[in-house]
Amino acid sequence: MSRALRFGTLGEELRGLALTFCLVAATTAAIYAIILWIGLTRGSVLYLIPVLIAAIRWGVIPAIFAAVCGVLASAFFFFPPLYSLEIRDPQEVINLALYIFAAVVVSQLASRLKRQLELSRQREIDLAELYAFSRRLAVAFDVSDIHSAIEDHLAAVIQRKVVLFAGAREATQSARRDSAAVPDEVQTVVADVAAGRREASAGVAVTAAGGDVWLVRPVSPKSPEFGVIAINFGRESRESSDEMRIRVDTVLVDATATLERLGVAHAISEARMRAQTDQLREALIGSVSHELRTPLASILGAATVLSSAPALRDEKKLQALVHDVRDEAERLNNDIQNLLDATRISSDGVKPHLEWADPADIINSALDRCRRRLADRRVVLNLPNDLPLIHVDPVLVQQALVQIFDNAVKYSPPGSKIMLAARARDGRLIVSVTDEGAGLTHAEQAQIWNRFARGERLAATTSGSGLGLWIASAFIAANGGKMHAVSDGPGLGTTVSIEIPVTQTAVPQLESDADE
């Protein structure tokens, strides 16, 4: 930009000189006309006009040029000896001195005015950028939004490549994206500055291997939360890079003021704290669940010992109490397991251990786990004996089925029928569980897969966390499958089905060589 500016000035200067010359010529013609028609003897004072115009419009050189041309023209045309450049009249010398003085003073004034104008125009642009910047900060959602706003703002204002590093090790999203563009030596300095090992409030210039000069400095010397920036100055002369440094300073002072005004430092630490709180919460749920399960193991174990103790064998009422203890402990254990599963799903996703499994095994194992809960329902199985093998994590699919059975039991009356059917169709295995229970309304069908979704209609009569089907669908999704729920309406029962892709082609050459 500055090189272009310099070429521009040279052209401007030549143009100024040419126009000045024309102006002087025009003035000469005008003075000639005045002498002829009005009879004025010497109009040479009029040559001040082109001098002043040149000084205001084109600067000091064209103005002096105008002064010299004016004196020469008046010497040639109006002072004796006429039509010779010989200067005899001392008036002419005074004129020359006067013109040159006027040229210098006026051009100085004009150029100062012009510089001020330019500055205020630049300031206007900066302010507009700053305004856009603060608007972006106002809608920033997290730390990386704020950082990329700072980065983009600087890049827009100083027209250089800017990379912002948020902390000692982390860089913003965009920095990570083009961290390859930041040379290693610059990154080392950035790390030093960010860690406070190096004082750099005024900035450190680093010359990279490619010859580019990078400026590294903290965004704000006072608030390290704002991070450290690296700006690529390219291969510029010392002067222009000094200019640039001053510019960066101004921009950063404004930007920091905006950041401070908006309480961004606070927002950044808050966002960090939020992330840490999330981690803490997951860890807490994990450890609390573990801590809860240990006493539960004692309670459940002790209850089962009591229930078969000879002393209680004939005490039907006490037996019933012991069974309550056992059943409730089991329910609590299931709830804790659900919490643990939910934490596992949201913290690091589910990693299935895939193996070839027989769907019938999975279904039987799920039925087995729910044996007691299903005891007062009529379970009707429809399992063809030629179901294809599926490549899944059988334990996850089993747990999903257990959740479905749990739901079916929870929302259907004792003695009703629960039908389980499995079939293979169009390269998929479909396992569906149909109950004769409460069914689903349209609205419920839409929300049933949400985390913590609970049927409000039946909230008073059933218990649960609303995590069950959410966990089930996450487990099935981890195995590449899908879940559906359909119902003819409230009170008309529900069918929940699991759909898992069957890649039968991947079970090769088995019949031929597995058995000789």
């Binding site: 056992r326 251990h353 329902r377 059988p394």
Partner: protein, 252 residues
């Protein structure tokens, strides 16, 4: 019970768990020794005759898996592991280290007793060299290489018999997929679980009264298979008195 009382060593750092296990076992005619740490357990197992060890995985001084490994290095006493972690990979690892069985906490006393009885029976059968394994209507004569269902001889292919044989040798205990695949198909096929699935399905058609809901050759999801022993089968049967699942006549 005319036999001398079996001696069980309970290893758990939680006193409440030890207490209910002690009561549960004593009510069922066992003699109970307790240990709160792995070191104590190993010392106890070397000093006294022990018939079976119940060991918790989370011990203060060493991992329960290490206890299994150390005891197994000089003794063939049956070991049942109590674990809160229900990861299948860990179960497989423990079984490979030499544990006979595992029970996931929380568990009921009946479940643990059934496992303990099976392990003890297997131990006494191994000691006496008894070649006949009976599971409900199924009889496997390991000496004569004969399999009988309700007294009539079954026709099994060599691989099917080998599979049943390996399971019968560990009757009542879980045998991991890897172990079965290695024993029946060889080391190259240890990851080809689909071989197992197909053969187990065929085998069940021949040996199970209801192949749809198998009671003899039982799947331990993600771990392996178990040939149910009469103890376990009995327990299962008792719990199924009001049959929850009625296999519908399949149309397939």
């Amino acid at each position: 019970m005319n036999e001398p009382s079996p001696i069980v060593l309970v290893v758990d750092d939680e006193v409440q768990i030890r207490r209910f296990l002690r009561t549960g076992f004593e009510l069922n005619g066992f003699v109970v020794h307790e240990a709160a740490t792995g070191g104590e357990a190993i010392r106890s197992a070397t000093l006294r005759p022990i018939d079976i060890v119940i060991v918790d995985l989370g011990l203060p001084d060493m991992d329960g898996a290490e206890v299994v490994e150390r005891i197994r290095s000089w003794s063939s006493v049956p070991i049942i592991v109590l674990s809160v972690r229900s990861s299948e990979a860990q179960k497989v690892h423990l079984l490979e280290l030499g544990a006979d069985d595992y029970v996931v906490k929380p568990f009921g006393m009946a479940e643990l007793l059934a496992r303990v009885r099976v392990a003890l029976r297997r131990q006494s059968r191994a000691a006496s060299g008894e070649p006949i394994v009976k599971v409900g209507p199924l009889t496997i004569d390991l000496a004569a290489r004969a399999v009988l269902l309700n007294g009539s001889r079954l026709n099994l292919t060599p691989k099917e018999y080998r599979l049943l044989q390996v399971l019968a040798q560990h009757a009542g205990n879980v045998v991991t997929h890897q172990h079965l695949l290695k024993e029946v198909w060889g080391t190259i096929h240890v990851h080809d679980t689909h071989y197992l699935r197909i053969f187990v399905r065929k085998l069940r058609q021949k040996i199970e009264p209801h192949p749809d809901s198998p009671r003899i050759l039982v799947t331990e999801l993600g771990v392996g298979y178990r040939l149910a022993q009469s103890g376990q089968e009995g327990e299962a049967a008792a719990n199924w008195t009001a049959p929850a699942a009625v296999p519908a006549k399949t149309d397939g």
